[in-house]
Amino acid sequence: MTATQLAVVPCGPDRLRLVRAVSQLPLRAGLPNLKTWLAFQGGRLAGAAAMRHDAADAVAWVAVPAPYRRLGVGRALLDATLKSARNLGVAHCGTWQGVVDAGGWAFCEAAGFRHADTLEYFETSLAETEGFLSAYYEGARRRGGLPENLGVHRDAEVPWALFKPLLEAEFNAILGLRLGRIVTHGLVAGEWALALTLDGAPVAVTLGSATEGRVSLDAYTVAPAFRQGWAHLVCKYRLVKTLLARFPGDTRYGFSAGLAHGDTRTIARVMAQRGLCTQALKTERIYQRDLEPGHG
């Protein structure tokens, strides 16, 4: 094959299934600020890229199936996303790569991205998680360390403005892009959010997405003032209990933990030891880079 046979074309929403199949990303039609591309090599589908953006940040995914690697497909797709991001006035760009594909790390690093975080993914049953946490929760409640007057806010009831400073301080630009969209525009179909307050103060906020039979926790943080003591346990328990009421039955529950989320990793490790949770399903690295004008 020669480079002249390589073509990268923007992809419309009617061909999103091709992007999904190549990238394995759960992209749905109608997602705001989503751009996608397909790469063809010799008439065959050789790669796909997707990008979501706001005014300051973009998250790009580039996927090239193994038979088409080292042919310049990934670079061509990345160039298309970077060019588009620059045209949109985006200042930062991040990309995710799976640890199973160490070649992806080298690709990102060669393209000027830096390793920003590592995420481990776990999966368990929502009901089993609720049962696991309830024992600890009840113990803490008997010891009298838990407040009873937590305010629980669901979805559009979440006072996002109250939580905005916490979210901005806590999350990296990539997750922040999604959070920023939620804070500004609200949730879209398939997303849920839950927040806890105590006497008007923000305690914890979490959000995720849900599909048939599976709930995933995509972001979770507790305000610094509540990180010691009861709050983490209460938040996790109230969260899972509320989710279980909302997504009853045999619902799977997926969550991830970055390098800074030792509490969550500990819970996952203990649950895994008891056979309640999978060991880390997969590990992903987050890469980031600034997008200098004229670069790329």
């Binding site: 009617d14 299934r17 091709l18 038979p67 403005a161 525009h185 609200g186 048939e212």
Partner: protein, 546 residues
Amino acid sequence: MAERRFVLLGLDGLEPALFAPLLRAGLMPHLADLLRRGRHGPLTPILADCAPACWGSLVTGVWPDAHGVLAAREADGPNGGAQAADSASLRAPALWEWLAAAGIDSVRVGLPLSHPATAAGGCVSDAYPGEFRQGGTWGEMPPGAGAGLDAEAWGLLDELRVHPQDLDGDALGPLMPALAEIDQNVDRRPAFVGVALARTFSLHNAATWLLEQRPGAAALIRYPLLDELCRSFLAYHPPRLPALGEADFGRYQGVVAGACRLADMLLGRLVALAGEEAAVLLVSTHGFRLEPEFRAGGVGLPDAAPPDIRPEGWWLLAGPGLDAEPEPRAATVLDLAPTVFAALGLAPPAAWPGRSLWPAAVPGRACPQPPAAVAPPGVSSVDDKDAVLLAQLAEIGLADPLAQPLAAEQAAALAEQEWNRYRILMQRGETDAACGVLAALCRGGPLALRAGLELGGILGALGRWAEAARLLEPLLPVVETADAGALRKAGLPTRWLSPENYRHGIGAILARARGDLAAVRRHLDALGSLPFGIPSLQRLRQELEP
């Protein structure tokens, strides 16, 4: 040009039990005036809990299986999964297309199924004023929110939008007198009220502007204010529910009544703008159940589910030459399109099943048939070219990760449509055909359990106990092991029917099929009284009466 102006205003949720005390207190003067000089009565809707289907019938004059919108969501052929029904989903010509064919200008504002807007007359779709942003503003003007409007009008519509953040205590105070005491950083409920008000104020601005700009045009308008606020705040409406705290009750008890009064003010403005010679049709396609067990949920409450819809609406018609009738007269939603036609001097098409509520002194003029609507794409297979590419990817082990959930979504949407087709057939009295639809649903899919129980119940109500038992017997083990969550997932109502209720209901029918009347009695006694009637169980109770 029409002989008289016609204004149809949709105020879903306008429930006589809600507004009657306000009328008596003289707090809804414009509605009282129309009642004095017009006719009114209960309205039988079609699929009252599905606004797109019901309003589709209202504006096309035909049943949902004829206009094509059977549910709020439909299969999304190109993308897989399901998508919201929209203006492209209507397969039958709508009122505005008929009116355009008859040379009558029309404007429509905020109607369900109006987005993306199409240009027969002027249209401001229900996507206007846009998506709410958490900062308290509407987002960009949605593409397709308007049609049949010039560029100047489009620009003005942008300016006519009322943003939630623009509403101050003067606007919100009448609905929440204690607003100043509420910490809105934590309690988002005032923001819910603000968004609902701002949406309807924006639509009202657009509607009044269009009425001024296009004199003589028939106007079809819907304000979602009452419907939205009843769904979120009916639990706070007096009398106080036992589970509701006094502080919350005090803060939000006035929201629904305030919304009724506000709706009356908007109605008054529309009537004044339309002029004395205008005919006015006020429509609510459904009400809400006000009994405590049906309205315990809402925003900020442990049960977030909205109150139950009451499948009965209300209509009111007033205009010059129309004699007042104080006694209510029953009508159906299919009567409304013929009413619009008759009031505008047009003869309703013969194919419309409804009858006009407007007495026509002389036969109306015939209206030419509008061009046929283009059928929506429906479920289509993947483009051949993409199918080849997907097959190539499959060879290297790659497949669409959403194929399965999207297929499930599509199956759910299609099942919902078939379920609603069954309901329509039952409403028309076509029981055999309805049972056929249920039987097909029973064979599998997301509503199989619900369809099986429903069909068993129908057969029981018809006294066909053996057939009912054959159907229900295999379902009993499923129901016996199911909790409320599993039943809810299967599409069964669980707010006022517990898993125990379902088990005893099935048990009673199975016992009747065996001829074991003592067991029937035990099951019925265990069921106790339900807040509504179930025909098969009612029949059993009658059989047991001496």
